[in-house]
Amino acid sequence: MTIHIQTDDFDTGLMLNKLRLASPSIGALVSFVGQVRDMNDGDAINTLTLEHYPEMTEKALVAIENEAKIRWDIIDSLIIHRVGTLKPLDQIVLVAVTSAHRGEAFKACDFIMDFLKTGAPFWKKETTSQGERWVEAKLADDEAKERWK
């Protein structure tokens, strides 16, 4: 289980290969990459700035990965999350999970994203032609999390 919080971009292909090649008992690698979109709520996005609560962030993500490992028979997991100022087409987050068989990795990756979205202390502020604004949390994310009860 690895967690990186960083301002720099990351090499998704390199990270996925490392995770996959770590063991020949791995049969499945499921990953999610989040990217900054150019539009949100009808406005063109110039930049997206991510703030976080450093002392809490890693603890929250470790707890989520641990919970995923308890719930499903996974081999390893990786979370990379960027902070700082990004622009459209930039990568924001990578979550990747390995397992022997695909079902476990799919569920665990989906679960980690839902819990990261609702429980990890990151906040997004975007700049549009209208100025700056904080991104509102989405009800859909809370609903997505409810699936795992």
Binding site: L50, Y53, I92, K117, G119, A120, P121
Partner: protein, 85 residues
């Protein structure tokens, strides 16, 4: 008791603090009580904690609900619902 309070995102901007140390009266021992106590600082604070917008809290880096008990030397954080990922 002395605790540390951190503010993030929209809330940090509203109160113009990112962190402070406060010496709480003995009866301010839950998140709800702390919110009420801070609301006495004026309109900005009162409107922040009046329940019209969701303010989440963490104690020592763990998300908690408003009934959670605060102890001396705790690090309490207030922030809006998270929007990472």
């Amino acid at each position: 008791m002395i605790i540390k309070i951190l503010y993030f995102a929209r809330i940090k901007e509203a109160v113009s603090y990112s962190t402070e140390e406060v010496d709480l009266p003995a009866d301010v021992s839950t998140i709800t009580a702390l919110k009420n106590y801070l609301s006495l600082r004026g309109d900005t604070w009162a409107s922040l904690f009046n329940g019209k917008q969701v303010v989440r809290a963490a104690i020592n880096h763990a998300l908690v609900d408003d009934l959670a008990v605060i102890q001396a030397a705790d690090e309490v954080a207030f922030f809006p619902p998270v929007t990472g990922g």
